[in-house]
């Protein structure tokens, strides 16, 4: 799979997100009416249903909610990366997102760790935000 082939299938609202990552920023939507941040992109606020929003730059920090290591070959384009980690990040602003962790120590992933976004990974036309561990955290 290449990410390029899906660009044309994304709704127009999503383009701003990818413009942000190209610029080294994690821009996500914030509702103008109730201030809720949301991700992935959508046209309305899931809390108050307002269609008024703006793109704001996230601080890019959050928590490693969980992680896995994929050993199964699901995508031809990922064959050479197997096993690769996938993470669920909970941003400080609230939303969750799928991403991956950039680390020299793949064995040391811990749920609850503090993370920060980096923009080093390209896939065709897209810059994919990833995260690095910046500190220990706590699990509830």
């Amino acid at each position: 799979m290449t990410t390029d082939s899906y660009r044309s299938t994304l709704p127009a609202v999503d383009a701003k997100y990818w413009e942000g990552t190209d610029s080294g920023e994690l821009r996500i939507q914030k509702c103008d009416s109730c201030s809720m941040w949301r991700f992935p992109p959508s046209g309305t606020c899931p809390r108050c249903l307002s269609a008024d929003y703006s793109w704001q730059v996230s601080a890019g920090r959050g928590v490693l909610w969980s992680w896995i290591r994929m050993h199964q070959r699901y995508f031809a384009a990922f064959t050479d990366r197997i096993p690769y980690n996938v993470a669920i990040i909970k941003l400080d602003e609230g939303p969750r997102m799928i991403s991956s962790i950039v680390t020299d120590n793949p064995q040391d992933l811990r749920c609850g760790s503090r993370v920060e976004v980096v923009f080093a990974r390209k896939d065709g036309e897209f810059t994919l935000p990833e995260f690095r561990i910046v500190g220990p955290g706590t699990l509830p």
Binding site: M1, Y6, T9, S66, H71, Q72, I98, R110, C111, L139
Partner: protein, 383 residues
């Protein structure tokens, strides 16, 4: 609205399935899901003792065209008719729809038919076309397949509660034990702890034997009013209560491991049936992946949060334990019929027709599916 609208009003009177194991052994077969569904329906109808013309509702699952299935089955004018997507959450939902229709008088005798030719068509659960724009935000990182999303929940669970490696093994081994006592099960060879440990990771921390099978098969279930059921020459199995609660976000992964949705469904279904977890003689728990069983046991109050893995490790859910579960082999050893075969086994247990798998004195049984739509039924044998 009275809580008694549905209680003990709807009975399951007909069950039919494919011979999953025989089908699996024929590696080159190319089967039509509709043919499989027709065969299962014929078995369920014979099992019920009803005439086909008494069927006035048809709900299909995973079979995309209810119209084609109705045509093939010769059910021309069903009073309710639909087809549900091929996901595990839908077996509970389909049964709820059928029961609700019967309890309100919109239909009297409803056939639910599930058909799956996944093996014939080399179905994969993951890696395909993204199913929505938001799926792309996951697949861009190589994230796909429900198993990986459940693996995320299990990794978090492991770290929250200091769960050791291999804590899931008793669930896989327990399923295999029961499959060995089930003539129609797919996987009949013994599964040892060493085999479990040495099997490859799929989405680490989950291994091969934590995953459901991919196989062809069909299941049909016929429901009707308790009055009509009592006239048949069978023990009457009724739905005492059923409830549902979604846990719907952009990810399959629930950030509270389905706890709140399970809690709400449990509160409702236990209250409406007038029972609690300690009254349950046997449970059929949806197990697309083994961790789902732990989340179900905890979410419904059989165990304190973070302890189900210990309870299972002590043998509570094995044959002879305090709560036998998945007594036909579950989705990891009997067959991956997305919850449907668990419903069939529930009826067999309550009828006393489970042979060597029979739970003694099985009178109250619970079905649970912990997923983005949590459902549960309390089933009972009358008198």
């Amino acid at each position: 609205m009275s809580d008694d609208l549905l209680r003990d009003k709807v009975a399951i009177v007909g069950i039919g399935t494919s011979d999953f194991g025989a089908m699996y052994r024929d590696r080159d077969a190319k089967r039509s899901a509709y043919d499989l569904g027709q065969q299962a329906f014929a078995e369920a109808l014979a099992d019920s003792g009803l005439e086909k013309d008494s069927i006035d509702g048809l709900l299909c699952c995973r079979l995309p065209s209810y119209q084609h299935m109705a045509d093939v089955l010769g059910i021309r004018r069903p009073r309710i008719c639909n087809s549900y997507e091929g996901s595990g959450r839908m077996s509970g939902v389909s049964i709820q729809t059928a029961a609700t229709a019967i309890a309100t008088g919109m239909a009297e005798t409803v056939a639910c038919v599930y058909g799956n030719n996944g093996r014939s068509v080399s179905a994969r659960y993951g890696g395909g076309e993204p199913e929505s724009a938001t799926a792309f935000y996951d697949t861009a990182y190589g994230m796909t397949s429900p198993g990986a999303y459940v693996a995320m929940m299990y990794q978090r669970y492991r770290e929250m509660y200091n769960v050791p490696d291999d804590a899931l093994a008793p669930l896989a081994i327990g399923n295999r034990h029961y499959a060995q006592l089930n003539d129609r099960a797919v996987m009949k060879a013994e599964l040892t702890l060493d085999m479990y440990r040495e099997a490859r990771y799929i989405a680490e921390p989950l291994r091969l034997y934590d995953y459901c099978l991919i196989n062809d098969g069909a299941v049909a279930i016929i429901l009707t009013t308790v009055e009509r059921a009592r006239a048949l020459n069978r023990p009457t199995v009724v739905i005492s209560a059923t409830a549902g609660a979604g846990d719907l976000s952009n990810l399959y992964t629930s950030d509270d491991l389905f706890v709140e949705s399970c809690r709400r469904v449990g509160e409702e279904v236990y209250r409406k049936a007038g029972v609690g977890p300690s009254d349950i003689d046997c449970a059929q728990i949806y197990d697309n992946f083994t961790p789902t069983i732990l989340f179900s046991l905890e979410g419904f109050g059989f165990c304190e949060q973070g302890t189900a893995w210990k309870w299972v490790g002590e043998g509570a859910t094995q044959q002879g334990g305090v709560l036998p579960i998945n007594t036909s082999g579950g989705h990891t050893s009997e067959s991956y019929m997305q919850g449907w075969a668990l419903h069939v086994e529930a009826v067999r247990q309550l009828r006393g027709e489970a042979g060597e798998r029979q739970v003694p004195n099985c009178e109250v049984l619970q079905y649970i599916c912990a997923s983005p739509i949590v459902t549960s039924h309390i089933l009972r044998r009358l008198d």
